[in-house]
Assembly symmetry: D2
Homo-oligomer: 290 residues x 4
């Protein structure tokens, strides 16, 4: 089928490639003319036959908002917009309402898979009306990995990004779990080959996983990760997961600890530990480090 695809960055570009391999016709638009198939959203919409499906794959927030606003002006009743970016699920509801006023459908789709998705497939978590999702299903089928898993219609509008958000919250804690274990193994003298311990865990253990495989790959590149700094960004979903948990009074100790570890990793010095140092000095005369 035909698909309009807005945003041809690292993710969007690979998705176009995967869809074309599957025989779909993808018309891609990007602000960067070197990668775009058309020169404007208007041209993209004009190129597609009705009912159109336009997949938005641009940064969350203002860029997604602007794109969906403009598509709302350009598209026709019966068309469907898919937001495949990392939008906050609460934005989906606003987008769906705005488009519904024009009888344009809306589907939110959380996409996981990173740079591996092009060849292995992308895991897709969708929210929206069944009728809208049905219009996009051939695209979902081409993007997802082979086999029964990798796609879910999780619920109404917002459910896809909500599920992806929680996926990422879990991801934070899984990564933190392996990272903590790795640091402890490296710190102890008794285990002399930490990389081979991780490698051995890839079969037969309770903790085998794709992230574990990636940890082994990383150590094969740089056994003690000496070329890296202990610095980790966060892309929003982890924060939103904790905020959603607070809204529902759900305790998330491990996921939140993982988010906070990232925050701390980005501080050159810890303000709060300055205060702890100051207090120790005040009551105990403990030496402080300037």
């Amino acid at each position: 089928m035909q698909l309009g695809l807005v945003g041809l960055g690292k993710m969007g570009g690979n998705m176009r490639e995967r869809l074309r391999r599957a025989g779909h016709t993808v018309v891609g638009y990007d602000r960067n003319p070197d990668v775009a198939d058309v020169h404007s959203l208007g041209e993209l919409v004009d190129t597609l036959a009705e009912p159109r499906v336009v997949w938005v794959m641009v940064p969350a927030g203002a860029p997604t908002q602007a794109t969906i606003d403009e598509l709302g002006e350009l598209l026709s009743p019966g068309d469907v917009v898919v937001d495949g970016g990392n939008s906050r699920w609460t934005d989906d509801i606003k987008h769906a309402e705005a488009l519904a006023g024009k009888n344009i459908g809306f589907v939110d789709c959380g996409v996981s898979g990173g740079v591996w998705g092009r060849d292995n497939g992308y895991a897709l978590m969708c929210g929206g009306d069944a009728a809208d999702i049905a219009k996009v299903q051939p695209i979902f089928d081409a993007l997802k990995p082979e086999g029964p898993a990798g796609f879910v219609h999780a619920g109404k509008v917002g459910a896809g990004h909500f599920a992806k958000m929680v996926h990422n919250g879990i991801e934070y804690a899984l990564m933190q779990a392996y990272a903590e274990g790795w640091e402890l193994l490296e710190a102890a003298d008794v285990v002399t080959d930490v990389r081979e311990v991780f490698r051995s865990w890839q079969e037969g253990t309770v903790i085998r996983s794709w992230l574990l495989d990636l940890a082994v790959r990383a150590m094969d590149d740089d056994e003690h990760l000496e070329g890296l700094r202990g610095y980790a960004e966060d892309s929003g979903e982890g924060r939103w997961t904790v905020e959603a948990a607070i809204d529902h009074a759900v305790p998330l100790p491990a996921i939140t600890a993982s988010l906070f570890a990232r925050f701390a990793s980005r501080q050159d010095d810890s303000p709060q530990m300055k205060m702890v140092a100051a207090l120790r000095n005040q009551f105990g005369g403990h030496a402080v480090t300037a």
Copy 2:
């Protein structure tokens, strides 16, 4: 080859079965005569030809200590004792020293795999001298899963149980990560089919893993886990992991949070939250619940 196997419970019994399928001769001893092949450790030792390998698979602590002490009296120089139980790694060093005085070798082996190990293989993490490990290698090869992973000689005596201990610490946090995400999904209204979200994650996502597969299995049995209580034991390795981290001044926020969640799960009421309730009442006149 011949192996003496002490302890034929859930783990030991399955391991005997797997080893026999691989063509090894296993002489098993257990206090329960219904499952034992011989009636005493002495008979077990007499049955084996030198140099003997005796694998101890009994509960950690006093039972393992007693078994190794008795084997120290019965075995001959050049024999090897393997402790495949869940001993604390610091015990291994004591056991190895005691046996070394009699020229008996010692290998510690952390075993992962649970009830799935008999058919899929057990992941094995070993510590000890290369010469001792070489004497046991055919047994390790039969127990481990097929493929390159699943076995590691992690370092000197104690390294096997240390690696297994950290494996379990990681396992606690991985389980906690999925569990937290699951509770949040169940708490939110927007996602209407949590089980299918988990099922979809099994392919293409960053968080795919064997534990995720098991979570789906559990929900296939009981979609909302209504038949279970939120109660989880801990078997020692999680505690030891945190203690080892404290010894090395390694922060383990996610793993420790997971351990504490288990502690809390076993309390009918939380004493510390009684104190919080009492303080709120003292300063704010907040209602308390009796």
Copy 3:
């Protein structure tokens, strides 16, 4: 001076009493006619001479919004509204803007002190323009405790409630700290008189505080707090503190742990620990509790 006071519940009623003791004229309105001095906001406004100061002391959210909206209709340029409730600081900015359009001033004021405030004074944290605060200063001076501390002009509009919000976040973690220590002392056999240990800490220690004094009071009423359930509500500020920290990428491990402990205290059973139990059963055949 004259003050209009809206909301005469546990806090507002005691504040009226303290202000009257200090010689101020307080005209109080409440929906409950048994405690009100006037029968409507209109009557309250009519009773006061210009420039008026009206202190709003009603629940945060819709009740505060409705009260401020109505006051905006009734008051005159040059009057000042004080929100002394537990509003979220972001609401203050909206309230101040709406009133500024009518040349009515706005001051947000976080109030701490609980049931002890009437006699000991209330700690006050204020945000707003200096000119507006000056109009209320005699009231602040009467409400605050004696001595130099107990009142701060913390910054622009919102600063008062932000400071009070962080105060409460800190309060959560302080309470949690004493509660954790208390539970550990009660759990250990070696200390046989936990209450007297707490009592002794009231002088000379690093951890002496008003909350510690309250803990001793609580144990004097009920030595082992057996009459209480380990159940603690949260009133919003703790949640907002964590959300503000997430906005600023500030790690708050102890405060967040304290918030999550309250969430968990209110669950009859822990959904996440059901999942942990289910996973343990799946991989290890561990017994589960139904």
Copy 4:
């Protein structure tokens, strides 16, 4: 009364001074002859009349062990040894048993107060037999602050150091609580005078405490603590508190978070966050920082 005092460092020296002000006769020994009253433990013992009380105030571990061993050789039946250092409570039991074999009494005494103790008094938490404690009571009375609080006989041998250990665990979390709140206030723009917010909290608030007073003092010296590094040592009691909690299956989320924050504060770079960065790079092609 007469007291032998071993160890005249920052704590011991100040305690000698306070005791002498109270009219007691203190014979002090230290390895540093510049501060010592006598030149050996033997001379110290010979100087005192029976029944002797000797207070040991040297670093925990080997120095304390060596001192108590030597005193066991020198003292007579009916004498009492007080360990006022920061020993682990489990050591007390060994010390008491060793001395009991010679009919020498033993009292463990946790001491809080830091550099402020000389003038304000030291909080004392003691463990041991009532008869032994009675022999030391005049010394305790002189060391403790005025008023009813500041001294407790907490239970049998070990109870004093156990109580002091928990005191320090609580102290860690209290300091962390203020430090987290301070960092958040400093990070937000809305509050423009964080120091004055803290100062205002000293009266009327729920969170007023001695540590809060010290925080204000520290900010009076250096408003934004710019002269300090966010680096905090830990002296053992925090670690032991967490280990004791693990032994009793008591969850200590806030105290443990505070301990881990100190561990992290001492790392130039975080190994675990290197692994997180490596994993993010592996699956997402996220940029890493070298």
